[in-house]
């Protein structure tokens, strides 16, 4: 009995604390004139800028401070040892003979000009390489993102409603499989079964090599081929994108399903749901109006974070499917020790992730009356 009393007391306190801090956070820095939502967005934007600066600083740190000699890292050890003058020349060209402070300043000035250096692998400016690879990843990510969010919300909420039933268990095990499978292996398995054996979809690449890519407007083949009124290219591009998209979706489903389920269950066990049930509302109304709405904010927040996982998975999936996007570019750069290339991709992906979460934050602010109205 003491056990019950002891653990009930702090447990009962914590939601109040949470509510209290949430209220405080909203009320603390009370705005005098500006609309609370505008204030919130501005604050989030500054955080965003801060994060971008931080991401840039980390990449600078990793490129310029961590390697013993970035110049030597560019050429093989043997050459470096026998030809110190080459190393010195490279150091001078890279500006490595300048003090660290100056290099940091130059680094950021270059970043602001979109100059990410030259790739030692492709010998192109990294920014141009990335610009070429970006639409491919964007195209894939959008499809995967939409599929993942829709399916996982459906399955997660379904599992939560039918908590502790067989259906819930099946969905749970499915999501555990999705979490526990190595991404590269799933990609290969999908490739082997659906392309190599069954020939359902096209294999690697974004388009059959016999086809000419549609003229570049957005760089996304699905969109461009439609704009160019080219059904052959469109169906072919669609058939090519299916396997990587489905693989990536499968890999991302698990964690989001679990999160949706958990959020819905937490909302269902909350006091406001008990309150709604005590009012005698039909259970369907309680679920849709109270539980789902209560779970909506954490889920929305999580979808933004999922984007990071999605881009991570893209590295492996794109590599297996020879999908010429940022992920494959980062892989090629990393394996050939092209520092500028890998830094550029990391930076780009980091910045995309930060801004996606910025927009998610704004959406949350619009949805959440605690932020919207004062």
């Amino acid at each position: 009995m003491t056990n019950t009393a002891e653990s009930a007391e702090p447990a009962a306190q914590s939601p109040e604390d949470g509510a209290a801090t949430a209220r405080k956070a909203g009320a603390d820095t009370a705005p005098k004139r500006r609309h609370p939502l505008a204030r919130y967005i501005i604050r989030r934007f500054f955080v965003c800028v801060l994060l971008v600066w931080g991401v840039g600083t980390i990449t600078f740190f990793l490129t310029n401070v961590v390697p013993a000699d970035p110049a030597a890292a560019l050429i093989s050890d043997k050459v470096a040892k026998s030809n110190p003058e080459i190393v010195a020349a490279i150091r001078h060209r890279m500006g490595l003979d300048q003090p660290l402070r100056v290099r940091y300043f130059i680094y950021f000035r270059n970043l602001l000009h979109g100059d990410l250096g030259t790739s030692s692998l492709t010998t192109n400016p990294v920014s141009r390489d990335l610009a070429r690879a970006f639409p491919a990843t964007l195209e894939l990510s959008i499809i995967v993102f939409v599929l993942t969010v829709l399916i996982s919300m459906f399955l997660g909420l379904l599992a939560a409603i039918h908590k502790k039933t067989l259906l819930d268990k099946i969905i749970q095990v499915f999501s555990l499989f999705s979490i526990s499978m190595p991404g590269f292996w799933v990609a290969m398995l999908a490739f082997y079964i659906f392309f190599f054996r069954l020939h359902w979809f096209s294999g690697g690449g974004r388009l059959d090599s016999s086809l000419v890519p549609p003229p570049t407007v957005t760089g996304m083949y699905l969109v461009d081929s439609l704009l160019n009124d080219d059904p052959v290219a469109f169906t072919n591009a669609l058939s090519h994108i299916m396997l990587p998209a489905l693989t990536l979706t499968f890999l991302n489903l698990g964690s989001l399903i679990r999160f949706c389920r958990q959020s819905a269950i937490e909302a269902e066990q909350s006091d406001y749901t008990l309150g709604a049930r005590a009012k005698g509302l039909p259970s369907r109304t309680v679920t849709i109006r109270y539980v789902f709405r209560g779970a909506s904010l954490p889920i929305l927040n999580m979808t933004g974070l999922t984007f990071g996982a999605l881009l991570s998975g893209a590295v492996l999936t794109e590599t297996v499917f020879s999908w010429h996007g940022i992920g494959e570019y980062a892989y090629n750069a990393a394996t050939s020790l092209d520092l500028n290339g890998i830094m550029g991709s990391g930076l780009l992906v980091g910045v995309i992730y930060i801004f996606i979460n910025f927009f998610v934050d704004i959406l949350c602010g619009i949805l959440d009356p605690r932020v919207r109205v004062q």
């Binding site: 009995m1 019950t4 009393a5 009930a8 007391e9 009962a12 939601p15 109040e16 509510a19 209290a20 949430a22 209220r23 909203g26 909350s270 006091d271 406001y272 008990l274 309150g275 709604a276 049930r277 005590a278 009012k279 005698g280 509302l281 039909p282 259970s283 109304t285 109006r289 109270y290 709405r293 209560g294 909506s296 904010l297 949805l367 959440d368 009356p369 605690r370 109205v373 004062q374």
Partner: protein, 289 residues
């Protein structure tokens, strides 16, 4: 500790003043009979043969420390216990056993005939739904009111619980109110469908000391005005002595003592009750003096 003493002080000071207005039993009042209520959850025996007679039109207090099962008992009346709880016994209301009712039938009673007020209004109200939304949804469901009528009634209810600017308040969200105001709103919400029985589960515990007395006043006012049957659940005997006509004391899932307020406070039979009464600040002071 200091907080707690203060709380009890206020409660007991306010006591006589509040209790003086004698509660008259109205003709239409209904009571409740809990018979041998027994509950087991995950192998833990939480309620043990609880029997409680709730007199119509009176305030029945359910006292006891946290974990004693008093909240569970009150939630059981509306069948709001966890799905996997094993429950036996009967809760008789208007000649029917509430525990036997289907989910659909009990939903017709919840909020309509028996309404609940919770401990912490900041948690029991949905943070993302406007006051209007939360005040009118069950009204429209139970009473079949149009949106316009429901809003009109909600304004009336808010005025009844002394919320300033009821029209403006309906447009607001829970986080824009103080705890005391929110609890008033929650009480108005509970009163929306003219229930016969109101269950208040620690209605003042989460509130500031100064606000506690106001909420108790409000509850007393509503009881007298509408002949409500009130079940007041609290660990605070100070609050209890201010409001309750009859008091049941619970310990470890059992009712250890039941009687009128006067009998319980002045002449407790059970040693546990005695220790609770002795712990009341005014009694401690008496002994010290």
């Amino acid at each position: 500790m200091v907080m707690n003493n203060k709380a009890m002080n206020t409660g007991s000071n306010a006591g006589p003043a509040l209790a003086d207005g004698s509660s008259s039993v109205e003709a239409g009042a209904y009571g409740l009979d809990i018979e041998n209520l027994d509950m087991t959850l995950n192998g833990k025996h939480l309620l043990n043969k609880v029997c409680l007679h709730v007199e119509p039109g009176k305030v029945t207090g359910l006292a006891g420390e946290s974990g004693s099962g008093k909240s569970l008992t009150s939630l059981s009346v509306l069948k709001l216990f966890p799905d996997d709880a094993k429950v036996t016994g009967r809760i008789m209301y208007k000649g029917r056993n509430l525990l036997d009712l289907s989910e659909h039938s009990i939903n017709g009673i919840r909020g309509r005939e028996i309404a609940l007020v919770f401990q912490d209004p900041t948690a029991s109200l949905h943070p993302m739904i406007s006051i209007q939304g939360q005040m009118t949804d069950h009204m429209r469901h139970h009473l079949g009111l149009s949106k316009k009528d429901a809003i009109a009634k909600a304004e009336h209810l808010l005025a009844m619980v002394h919320i300033p600017d009821p029209v403006g308040a309906l447009k607001k969200y829970p986080h824009q109110f103080s705890g005391g105001q929110l609890q008033r709103i929650a009480i108005a919400m509970a009163m929306a469908c003219d229930p016969t029985i109101l269950i208040a589960d620690e209605p003042t515990t989460a509130l500031d000391v100064t606000v506690q007395a106001e909420i108790l006043h409000l509850l007393r006012e509503l009881c007298d005005k509408f002949g409500l049957t009130l079940i007041l659940v609290t660990h605070d005997l100070g609050v209890m002595s201010a409001l309750a006509d009859n008091i049941a004391v619970m310990k470890a899932g059992e009712i250890v003592e039941y009687g009128t307020r006067h009998d319980i406070i002045t002449d407790p039979k059970n040693p546990y009750t005695k220790s609770l009464i002795d712990a009341l600040p005014m009694n401690m002071m008496k002994r010290g003096a």
